[in-house]
């Protein structure tokens, strides 16, 4: 029930706005986010914008994840990838490889 979807504010008039995600548009209330600006990514729950995505924080988290992936690519994974071509995206986790 606490599902909230980030959508981009593309227009606003008074306390209502129009948000968009992948071509889907919705009218929402900005009563809880009166300072929102066109272009902001807002968190939408039950017809209301309840929060905004902090782009700097989002970029920081993405940078952390990217670094994690790159470090592994550079150093290689701790074990061999399965070569069976069976389409398995992940290896089963193994223990005691730390």
């Amino acid at each position: 029930m606490c599902l909230a979807i980030p959508m981009k504010l593309i227009a606003r008039q008074g306390s209502s706005g129009v948000v968009e995600l992948e071509g889907v548009r919705r009218s929402i209330s900005l009563a809880l986010m009166p300072e929102a600006r066109t272009g902001d990514h807002l968190l939408i729950h039950a017809g209301y914008a309840i929060g905004a995505v902090d782009e700097k924080e989002a970029a920081e988290t993405i940078r952390l994840l990217q670094e994690m992936a790159e470090a592994e690519q550079r150093d290689g994974p701790p074990g061999p990838e399965p070569q069976d071509g069976g389409g398995r995206a992940r290896r089963p986790p193994e223990r005691n490889q730390a």
Binding site: C2, Y48, A69, P93
Partner: protein, 365 residues
Amino acid sequence: MTKDHLFQDARIVRILIERLQAAALRLPRRITLMEVCGTHTHAIGAAGLRRLLPEEIRLVSGPGCPVCVTPVGYLDHAEALAADPDTVLCTFGDLYRVPSSRSSLEAAAAAGARVRIVYAADDALEFAREHPGLRVVFLAIGFETTAPTIAAALAKAEDAGIPNFQILPGNKRVAPALAALATDPAARLDGFLLPGHVSVITGSRCYAFLSEQHRLPAVVAGFTAADILRAVLALVEMVAAGRPALLNLYGRVVTEQGNRIAQELIERFFEPADAVWRGLGNIPGSGLALRAPWTGRNAAASPVELPPPSEPPGCRCGEVLAGRMDPPECPLFARACTPDSPVGACMVSSEGSCAAWYRHERRAR
């Protein structure tokens, strides 16, 4: 691969699982971590995270599904209101099929009661505006994420002069429930994954008491596989080091102080009150009651006769919600109780623990 996909990337998931395995070796014993958000329950099931975790880490779902924790007496009350032919109930869809003591809203509607499923409190308000001769009662359930949207609808009803819009108060506050769980000797929890979207409203700071008073680590977490695993890893590291703290790993939408405007709107219409949670019983200050000036908006203001509340026989939702039991341990699970024919609330809502286990983890076991 776009950047957003990193949050669900199989490689990132594997790296985090490997780090978790290493961290788990430093744990003094098997530990239990609890998430308290239906969206986490669903996301953990859908990504299959539980069976990737090292066996030292038990991840349980707590009372994070608002529909599931709503006590049966609330539904009985809603049904009693719907017996009046000039009353229309408006409800979130999740509540529609939850069994009451004698029936359900769905069965009541089939028998002629007027029940409408709405997406938001505003939809109920709009219906009230269009039907001034009817009493429209919105079933106000949900945590702090939802409460401000209901307060905002009440504010609109006041501003626009729509007298026939009422609510049946049933909203709940997460922090007092966490306090109750933190001191529950039967739950034996070692840390909390805090609900991301509740925290958008409340802010993260209000959970500091978990580490400061109860020595339990707590991490505000987002909803992707990477978000959840990073939070679990942080919890495991804090338990292993014996240094509990409050961390916010969902900083892209959660701030320390939360959404002040939403908090003020809740404050204008509601005040904390004792409330009964299915499975946890009465928790002081965990409910939201309408303040005295708004008694006219309270559909529960005039007394109605209710049957003694009775839970479905054999249903163990209460123990599941308190983290004392995993869904498959209930004798009804996947036998008498399935999503098509649910016995208990936790199987009805897609965010309920039982529904999530049925859907995602049954075949894996």
